[in-house]
């Protein structure tokens, strides 16, 4: 006789298929899917469009927002996992129904995390596929916050991307004019066009497969963040009661050190994003393997803790 919990109804339930009338479900789904694709495209778009594929310029411009954004993202993920797996965050009685049906708690938990993982990490996986067909990234060494801050040699990038090769670019006059205008306006000087640099050459370092590494880095970081939040929820679940204060502590606890880090080590966090990217680029195989091994480990721990939860 079949003794396993059927997956189909659990997944349908997690996707709220029968919970919402069909038209709002389709409209809501389309809206979420749109955002989902947008979120998948955004990290690469920031790099390739806003920074013209210059990785160092990207970290220079957005390095300081990387961590606040990461913590915001982690907070959203935490609250999402919390509402799905921590009975104290939502009324306990909603769990009572599931926990007293012929549903294996572990299957129920796995179904929840599967849907949640697909929604959270899906855009980053999508990003990885887009990266396969994106142009190579380049590096203008003077733009790198990590390199300029710590005076590290260019070797970091060369080590991470062994196939890197220099490229000489002669900027068009039109581009130069725009750059000059922007620079002068920013500096508060009158916008005067100076067509003097037309024959000046710019040296760039082309980093082959860096786009893919960048997308993989985001996916790796996202997976690590998701696992960390899953682990945190699994360990905290039985300590979170329905009191508002308890939920507040649960939600705020992992982010207090983050806020401290951001406020007091602002300069460091700017360079940290790039340093982290370079570290990943240098050891991507080992780091990816570590996360791949951690996934079943964390899932096992979290399912076990979920299995032991009490509903009072």
């Amino acid at each position: 006789m079949k003794t396993r919990t059927p997956w189909r109804p659990l997944l349908r339930n997690e996707l709220l298929v029968d919970h919402i009338p069909m038209v709002p479900w389709i409209l809501g789904g389309a809206y979420c899917l749109g955002n989902w694709f947008l979120a998948g495209w955004a990290p690469l778009a920031m790099l390739t469009n806003l920074c013209q594929g210059d990785i160092a310029a990207f970290f220079s411009s957005f390095g300081n927002v990387c961590f606040p954004f990461l913590f915001l993202w982690l907070f959203i993920v935490l609250m999402w996992i919390g509402t799905k797996t921590v009975p104290g965050v939502v009324p306990m009685a909603t769990y009572e129904f599931y926990f007293t049906r012929a549903i294996a708690r572990r299957s129920f938990y796995r179904a929840r995390m599967m849907v949640l993982g697909a929604v959270v990490l899906g855009p980053l996986v999508l990003n990885l596929f887009v990266a396969l067909r994106s142009p190579d990234l380049v590096l203008k060494p003077g733009d790198s916050p990590a390199l300029s801050k710590h005076g590290e040699p260019l070797d970091s990038y060369l080590r991470a991307f062994p196939g890197a090769h220099p490229k000489v670019v002669r900027p068009s006059l039109a581009n130069q004019k725009v750059h000059e205008l922007v620079r002068l306006e920013v500096e508060g000087l009158p916008a005067i066009t100076t067509p003097s640099l037309a024959n000046q050459e710019v040296h760039e370092l082309v980093l082959p497969r860096a786009t893919l590494v960048y997308a993989a880095w985001l996916l790796w970081g996202g997976t690590l963040g998701l696992l960390a939040m899953q682990c945190y929820c699994a360990c905290m679940a039985k300590h979170v009661s329905r009191r508002f204060g308890s939920v507040l502590i649960f939600a705020g606890l992992p982010f207090l050190p983050a806020v401290f880090l951001l406020v007091f080590f602002h300069d460091l966090t700017t360079a940290l994003a790039e340093a982290n990217f370079l570290f990943f680029a240098n050891h991507w195989a080992a780091l990816a393997l570590a996360v791949a091994v951690a996934i079943p480990g964390v899932e096992w721990l979290a399912e076990r803790r979920f299995d032991e939860l009490e509903i009072s």
Binding site: L16, D18, H19, E96, F97, R101, A102, I103, I311, S312
Partner: protein, 296 residues
């Protein structure tokens, strides 16, 4: 097969420093309807949740269908229906969708019971749970528990929020199902007239301790109230050590006690040189007397 579907040995559970259940030794016979009674806060819900595998005991051992709730498998869950005191169903789901969702987890799901009860309770299956009244949502929860055809039904205040007619209908349906197929039910309720109507056995929980656990008929036959009057030497020294409760007025005493045999009361009256009158009690009276034990 074990004659008892539920068996607990010295089960205790506390919340912080507050003991909710203390040394609970409960045995529920297969095929019986067991009325689990107690005042608010007596520990009924905690005990039922431990039996349903929602809470774990601090000490002691629980066996439901021969299995400890912590080890319940999906197969074990097929055999246990549970309706909690404050059951929340998925508010956005239609009744029909909820029945369909639940049916997929039970191989023995009985759509016939669903149809019969939907008709009997006059529930529109196309309505969403959030649009139902509290009582109707409760009926749906009960329907879900009955349709899975469990060996054991654990019902915590099943008739709360139901009107008299719906309550009667539910009890009839439950009785029909249980009697036809020799199933067992453990139900807690504050509506003692309902319990008296359906229960075979009664357990009374007082401050977390099981005070009484016996067949209802035996309880009603043996627990009586006696009015003692016409004391020749006054009633200052009058005492009934085995009484659940003894109330004295100026010239008479009222004792609720278990009468072991026909000689108990005559002996007591002769010893105190008084007369007595026997008063038969219904379940509600017995319950009140027992939970008030020790009160003057």
């Amino acid at each position: 097969m074990d004659p008892y579907i539920i068996e607990t040995k010295n089960v205790s559970r506390s919340f912080g420093k507050n003991p909710a259940v203390q040394n609970l030794n409960l045995r529920v016979r297969r095929g019986s309807i067991y009325g689990f009674l107690g005042r608010n806060g007596a520990g009924k819900t905690t005990a039922l949740k431990m039996l349903a595998g929602l809470l774990w005991p601090d000490a002691g051992e629980i066996r439901v269908n021969g299995v400890a709730p912590a080890q319940f498998t999906v197969q074990d869950r097929w055999k246990i229906g549970y309706v909690s005191e404050k059951q929340i169903l998925m508010p956005g789901m239609r009744v029909a969708a909820l029945l369909q969702f639940s049916s997929q987890f039970y191989p023995g799901w009985d759509f016939g019971v669903c149809e019969r009860m939907l008709r009997r309770f006059k529930i529109d299956p196309q309505k969403r749970i959030k649009t139902l009244s509290q009582g109707t949502a409760r009926q749906v929860a009960l329907l879900l528990a009955l349709a899975q055809k469990p060996d054991l039904l654990i019902l915590d205040e099943p008739a709360a929020n139901l009107d008299v007619v719906a309550r009667r209908d539910f009890l009839d349906e439950m009785l029909q199902l249980l009697r036809e197929e020799g199933k067992t039910a453990l139900l807690s309720s504050h509506i003692l007239s309902d319990v008296e109507r359906v229960a075979d056995e009664i357990g009374i929980l007082v401050r977390g301790k099981l005070k009484i656990s016996e067949p209802l008929d035996h309880l009603k036959e043996t627990v009586k109230q006696a009015r003692f009057f016409g004391f020749a030497r006054g009633l200052d020294t009058f005492a009934v050590p085995e009484a659940f409760r003894l109330t004295k007025t100026r010239d008479e005493a009222l004792a609720t006690l278990r009468i072991q045999d026909d000689t108990t009361l005559p002996k007591l009256a002769a010893a105190h040189q008084c007369q007595y009158e026997l008063i038969h009690l219904n379940l509600e009276d017995i319950f009140v007397e027992i939970v008030r034990e020790g009160e003057e």
